[in-house]
Amino acid sequence: MSGYQRILFRFFFLYFVLQTLPFNFKYFERVPAGIGYRTLFYISRYMPGDNFATWGILAIIALAGTIIWSLADNKNRSYEQLYYWLRVLLRYRLAAGIIAYGLLKLFPQQLPFPSISQLNTHYGDFTAWKLFAISTGIVPSMESFLGLVETTAGLLLLSRRTAPIGAGIILTFTGNVFLSNLAYEGGEYVYSLYLISIALFLIVYDLQRIISLISLQQATAPDPVKPHFAKPWLRYLKIGLKALFIFFFVGVYGVTAFAAYKKAPYQYPVQAGLPAAAGIYNVNEFTINGTALPYSLTDSIRWKDVVFEKWATLSVRSNRTFTPDLSNTEEIYSNDAERNFESAGNASRQFYAYVNDTAKHILYLQNKNKHYKEDRLILHYERPDSSTIVLYNDSLHVVLHKLDKKYPLIIGRRKPLKL
């Protein structure tokens, strides 16, 4: 290493150590306890701060550290071994992050198939980010494929021989994720750029060799640096740590994520809804405080249609739009009440989670949107026949008829369709 390379190294060493080692203990207060994929997901997504300002502060600290270090240590020391172990740290940090997202897609639950409410919402009434999620959700095979690419790239990072290939795949893959976050107004552009910065740092190390071999087409020597173990037990420690990493971030994570995908995917609520009610219903009659409101294209009080999901959520559409819940980051909630994937980014339906008192035939409704927390309803229900639901209370009386709705999205376009 030449003089300026040593200074550069000191800077990047300090910067990336600050970025990756878990110094921000506060972050871990929010990590759910346990040893399943939920806990590991949040551990894998650790960043010292979720904005670019933190990066700037860390860079300033690293710069100050570089100056002190350079003054204290002006021997012509080569940092080859330290550089090697920095790359090891970053490879594993990157692998954990990439595999965590990869396995959520490989066993497709990050982007589930759209709910009935989502299928029955106008395209223009969604946020771009929600459209991105449900557009990918309609093709689970595509999602699995993307997850496979991501997981493979992460696994390639675990060996120094395949690391440049893994980093190369991540640069293009996560580069695309980053741009998608910007384009679709997603909330993870900082985190994706964080992963990209690590992948870039990793690939820079091999860049000269790559260009020399495939572009300049010259004879090229391989990376001369091998890890040095002063004592034999250090080698065993390394093997042990590697095994532990794979056990948790691939094994445990993979098994629990797969089990969740099979049994209880995390995006939609688990609690079952009104039995055999799932579907979209036309609002045939709507009476409020004794006044029957006819069908209208302009009335903002009258309901137009109601969706009952398979789980305990119903959603109502009328001639108005609402302030949508703009959540746009990936969260794994354990409680039904917090699971807002179905309602976030939707401005034309109001979503209610409900508790069904089966003895008294009463639904206790709670608006799921954080902007309408006060919106609660208690509705009696009657089901005179299999396609009719009557909802009522002191002021409201609504008659719902199930629609025999067919979706080209589900039927496919290979045969002629008349809808």
Partner: protein, 426 residues
């Protein structure tokens, strides 16, 4: 390819050259259109190649190597792949391949689109992302033109197009053969470099790459090489850039070019609807009364009525020249909506309308522009604009019943962000 007018090239001509692919056989079955059997032409090419290789091998036994021929084969593959992907890339770099959803599309329920349409729209709503994808594709293509950068171009191309091939399978996009064709070409180019990359990085050994380049000793050789190389560069990078810019600016090929009647663009509620002079009140269940109408920024009117229609299941592409055949806005869209192309006579206040949905005339869900447009009879309606935001339409509908419709503009706000790039002149 031979119908191209080479003296006055338009973007369609250069693009058609870029899109050429051998088509030996089409298997007439579901799999032949959507699945594995659609690769039958590849199978035939493979068979011909095997038989040819056996015969060639028999007559050419003494041959030790084909270094020179291999070089030229790679040149052909590189240029074929490069030209094709640049053709595709420019329609994204100037974002017209996936247009921003029309008003009628914004008012359609998510579940009323086909999967193919969902994917195309999901790119259409992020034009800058489309531009970026175009830059990646054009860059991959340009890198393939030069032997020192060809491998990097091939990696980009293989990655991007493998993704697109998978998209086409998953979303039933129907372009899975043509996209896989590029993956094949890119992998062939890359194939040459894989052993060296493997040796240097995975085996960590000293690696000496071997490349055979023909010597261009004679002047005519150097001149021809230079001319062909930079000629291709000029036609498919410089000229096509200009042509696609022009297309984006003046004739975005998936959107009609004719402007709407000034000031009509918008969404309208059907306030009153009379059929044979009888007022029909609004009901979402009624199969005769319209509910909502859109006037697009181009000359398309749509209305919604609760009556099933045969869907146009094409991709909405094929770069048709006439506005009436530009069916992207209705291709793959359900939601019980009728689409009409119109010509307006603003002095007499008449609209001449023609139904844009030609699916009844199409054989299957193929992408060929229809050719039987003379068979339909246009509708002639009068229109009045008594007040701002109000339009009255009257005339005979396609059942020869008289209609009188009062439309009032809705101040519709969308949650989805508006497009930041607008193709065409409206």
């Amino acid at each position: 390819m031979f119908t191209t007018n080479w003296l006055r090239p338009g973007y369609r001509d250069v693009y058609d050259v870029a899109r050429f692919q051998p088509d030996f056989i089409n298997v007439n079955s579901e799999s032949g259109r959507w699945g594995i059997a659609s690769y039958a032409s590849w199978g035939i090419a493979l068979l011909v190649a095997i038989v040819g290789a056996l015969i060639w091998g028999w007559f050419d036994k003494k041959r030790k190597e084909y270094n020179l021929l291999y070089y030229w084969l790679r040149v052909i593959v590189r240029y074929r792949a490069g030209i094709g992907i640049i053709g595709f890339g420019f329609t994204k770099l100037f974002p017209v391949q996936m247009p921003y959803p029309s008003l009628s599309n914004l008012l359609t329920d998510f579940g009323d689109f086909t999967a193919q349409k969902i994917y195309w729209l999901s790119i259409g709503i992020v034009p800058w992302y489309q531009v970026f994808a175009g830059i990646v594709e054009v860059t991959a293509g340009v890198l393939l033109f030069f032997r020192r950068t060809a491998s990097i171009g091939a990696v980009l191309l293989a990655g991007a197009l493998a993704n697109i091939t998978f998209v086409n399978f998953a979303y039933d996009g129907g372009v899975h053969v043509y996209s896989a064709y590029f993956v094949l070409l890119a992998l062939f180019v890359l194939w040459y470099d894989v052993p060296a990359i493997y040796k240097l990085f995975v085996l960590q050994q000293y690696t000496v790459p071997v490349y055979h380049y023909p010597a261009f000793n004679k002047t005519w050789q150097r001149v021809s090489r230079w001319t062909l190389k930079w000629g291709a560069f000029f036609v498919f990078v410089v000229l096509l850039f200009y042509l696609q810019w022009w297309n984006y600016r003046y004739d975005p090929y998936k959107q009609p070019v004719h402007k709407a009647i000034a000031g009509t663009k918008g969404v309208y509620n059907v306030t009153e609807f009379r059929l044979n002079n009888k007022v029909i009140p609004y009901s979402p269940q009624d199969s005769l009364r319209w509910s909502q109408v859109t006037f697009e920024k181009w000359s398309t009117i749509t209305y919604q009525v609760n009556k099933a229609v045969k869907l146009d299941l094409s991709n909405g592409g094929g770069s048709p020249k006439e506005d009436i055949d530009r069916n992207f806005e209705l291709a793959g869209v359900a939601g019980r909506r009728r689409f009409f192309y119109y010509e307006a006579d603003t002095t007499s206040g008449t609209l001449t309308l023609r139904d844009k949905n030609r699916s009844a005339l199409r054989k299957g869900s193929t992408d060929r522009p229809n050719t039987k447009k003379e068979k339909d009879h246009p509708l002639v309606w009068h229109y009045e604009r008594p007040a701002p935001g109000r339009i009255i339409l009257y005339g005979l509908n396609d059942n020869k019943d008289s209609i009188y419709v009062i439309l009032d503009k809705v101040d519709k706000r969308y949650t989805l962000s508006e497009s930041t790039i607008e193709a065409g002149q409206y």
